[in-house]
Amino acid sequence: MPGDVAASRPPSPFVPTPAPDGGGGPGALWRVVAEAFDAASAEREPPPRPPVPVPVKWKARRVASLDLGAPLLALAAGDLDGDNQAEVVALTERHVVVLRPAARGLAEVARAALPSDPASIRPRDAVGTVVIAHAAGAPSEIRARASTRGRGGRWVLEGKTLREVGSVLAFPLCADVAADLVPGRNYFAGGPGGADVKDPSIGFYTARCRDDVVDRAGRALRAQATVELGGGVTVALETRCAARDASCTPHRELRVEGVGVALELDDVDHDGTIELITSGAGAPGDADAVVVWNLGEGGVGKKPVFRRGFSGGVVGLVSGDVDGDGDREVFAAVRLMGARKVDIWLLD
């Protein structure tokens, strides 16, 4: 059901024990031991490291105007090449495009065509999702799917080339969450946790996750925001609580109304509370606004931290440390309906 968010516990911060195949009896024994060790590690809590707040001044500044060759559907950010600087990935109706800082803005460095497999039934307004998945010991990969194609793909960045390394069938919403569209409609079926709902009128527009942040006390935090068909967003916050930590609330749900399909979650100012960065829930083609809400321990702030109107529609919101200075940059992609050209705004 909409809003029935299935956010999982924040992932273990410990790196898995290497357990290669082979090795006969000793190798098998090693793998059993490694698995048990990892299971135990997964339940351990590392010493909390409270975040160190950094001052953030929210201010919108246009940094780039890009012709992406097709209408933009979604944005994601992550370090694709291991240089500790995040790339911004744009998913359009036809391509995956990797952007990096250039001069004072962003510029394209790589592009790959989406799989050519035709979609049987697709929604009238194109829908797309893109995430960057990090796996220990493997290069980070882009997972993306657009409704304009019959399947999605997985790509890795090699130099200035995107190499397709596999396909995805469902729409990736988070690294570990995917969903299918209701056939012919512009929303996903059931709930993002995979609930099997037959009623085509039940669903949600999108979901977004964040699991590389900590709360004020330094406990690992995972947030998952789900935009419902009515325009409300439910944010599930899961905190990795130690066994005897009575002050820790492992699960909270917050709610904000009037949210569009472009949104982002992050602790931009490193104060231990997550910011929910949203577009508005108006009609397609209307003017739009980016609104930043602080999701504190007492709930959603009464007033937004930041609000900025745009004459176009906000089609994508993304945060990432694109310059490698340790702070997150938040970008908004603004465009007129159906346009291939987007304006990229830096918001902090």
Partner: protein, 497 residues
């Protein structure tokens, strides 16, 4: 130890479950996604006379066929041709074009839509007298697995565009649709027809997505102001003939406007009731020169009207009407009439006064009556008399196709944007398949196309008009394609706050 820790975490999670409700943003700005549901009452530019794709003639016919049926390709709002039932653009190698179909296609009755249906449909188009000119370059159509292969007599860069026209919409097994229960693969299903309206409902399985509206009522009117009055009083979601009955009025609901390109040709067509007169080229030239086209710019309810003597719209690169041609050129008209009179006795000066021609107009296109009155005046300048007869669109179509009329006011939407195909369409509408085939097949090109048209005058172009949509502000997503057809499947209701 792991199990103990995990259990404790679960207990803690349950006891500490919290829920908070946040505030609402201060304004209703933003960009979400179109919502599904609701219904709309709209209007057509006249009564549709057919739901058979190959028989499409008017703007209303094309609009209805486009909602019930689907084509291999479509022309998007950006003017670009996109695959619709086809999986991709045609793969053309020498004289063969292979078109793969999307997987899992169905008709509205649940039956599969396969390459067999496409081949049968295109074969029917080729064989049809009315629309065969369109595929004159196609010499054969065959099934190739999940694809169709078209054999071409000459390379066609515009093949996808041809296969995006309503005449090529796919029907089950290529058969003519049933009048009372057509089954197509378009975004809407037929649910009923009454005297003045067509009832449709959404089809969930449309390949380009379920339309946003649940139900659609498309109406037409035979009185000039009824459409505007219905809209003004809140009885319709859009009007194509003004937002209010009287100037200075105010519609019940907040209203916005959208206008299409001026590509819909209004023309004088010829029947065979007085075949000796009407088939004479010089008589047609005389009528053409006697028309006061400049005044046609004011016909209608405020939409753009561009007087024209050529079927190719100015908006598609056609020639603009010269200032001289906007006014009657009576000297030229009389000279041409004198030449005609040398061959046709009833056009001689002492006999032409006895000639009475009937001009047919569709009663559901009120503007056409005003247009016809201007044709009457032009004939009067030539010394001939004429009467205007308003008939139902169905009667008009029947009488035109059988030639049982003198003159009629017709419509031709620019389904194809190239001059050759627009000229070909004009000849096809006049029943001159040989010339239509030559033009569509590329046997006549360049300036010769215009010369051929002038030498035959199969129809007399009057003006190109736009379609101006007045719609409720809470009806969103409106757009027109290049042939001035409204993108009804993209309309959605977004309540105003």
């Amino acid at each position: 130890m792991a199990a103990r820790l995990s259990g404790a975490a679960v207990v803690c999670a349950v006891c500490a479950l919290g829920s908070f409700v946040g505030p609402r943003p201060p304004a209703a700005l933003g960009e979400s996604r179109p919502r599904y549901g609701g219904g709309a009452v709209g209007t057509l530019l006249g009564e549709p006379t057919t739901i058979d794709p190959v028989a499409v003639r008017s703007h209303a016919d094309a609009a209805v066929v486009g909602l019930l049926f689907e084509t291999l390709y479509e022309v998007g709002s950006d003017g670009v041709v996109y695959p619709q039932l086809a999986a991709a653009l045609p793969e053309i190698e020498q004289d063969r074009a292979r078109i793969a179909l999307r997987p899992g296609l169905h008709f509205q009755d649940g039956s599969s839509l396969t390459a067999v249906d496409v081949v049968a449909t295109l074969a029917r188009v080729r064989a049809s007298q009315a629309a065969g000119w369109l595929l004159v370059s196609v010499t054969d159509v065959t099934v190739d697995g999940d694809a169709v292969v078209l054999t071409l007599s000459s390379p066609r860069k515009d093949l996808a565009r041809l296969l995006a026209t309503p005449w090529t919409a796919i029907t089950p097994r290529g058969l003519a649709p049933k009048k009372d229960g057509p089954v197509g693969a378009g975004p809407f299903r037929f649910t009923g027809r009454k005297k003045d309206r067509l009832e449709l409902e959404f089809w969930e399985g449309h390949t380009a997505g379920r339309p946003y509206l649940d139900k659609l009522t498309l109406r037409w009117f035979d009185a000039a102001d009824d459409e505007a009055q219905l809209y003004e009083t809140g009885g319709a979601h859009w009007s194509l003939r003004g937002a209010t009955r009287f100037a200075g009025g105010s519609p019940k609901h907040p209203t916005t406007e959208l206008e299409s390109p001026a590509t819909l040709l209004v023309f004088v067509g010829f029947g065979q009731a007085h075949a000796d007169v009407l088939a004479d080229l010089d008589f047609r030239v005389a009528l053409d020169r006697a028309l006061a086209r400049g005044g046609l710019a004011t016909v209608g309810t405020g939409e753009r009207a561009v007087p024209a003597a050529d079927p190719v719209p100015v908006d598609l690169g056609g020639p603009a009407l010269s200032a001289a041609a906007a006014d009657p050129r009576l000297a030229e008209a009389e000279t041409a009439l004198a030449r005609a009179a040398g061959r046709v006795r009833s056009l001689k000066k002492d006999r032409i006064g006895a000639l009475v021609l009937e001009i047919l107009v569709a009663d559901s296109r009120p503007d056409d009556r005003e247009v016809a009155s201007r044709v009457v005046r032009a004939l009067d300048k030539l010394g001939a008399r004429a009467t205007i007869t308003a008939v139902s669109a169905g009667d008009l179509a029947r009488r035109v196709s059988s030639g049982a009329c003198d003159l009629y006011i017709g419509q031709a939407s620019a389904e194809l944007a190239t001059p050759a195909m627009i000229y070909a369409q004009a000849f096809a509408f006049a029943g001159d398949r040989a010339s239509a085939d030559k033009l569509a097949g590329g046997a006549i090109t360049g300036v010769h196309m215009r010369e051929t048209f002038a030498a035959r005058l199969p129809i007399i172009p009057l003006y190109h008009r736009a379609v101006r949509l007045h719609h409720r502000a809470d009806l969103r997503g409106a757009w027109f394609d290049g042939s001035a057809r409204l993108g009804v499947a993209e309309l959605f209701v977004w309540p105003s706050r």
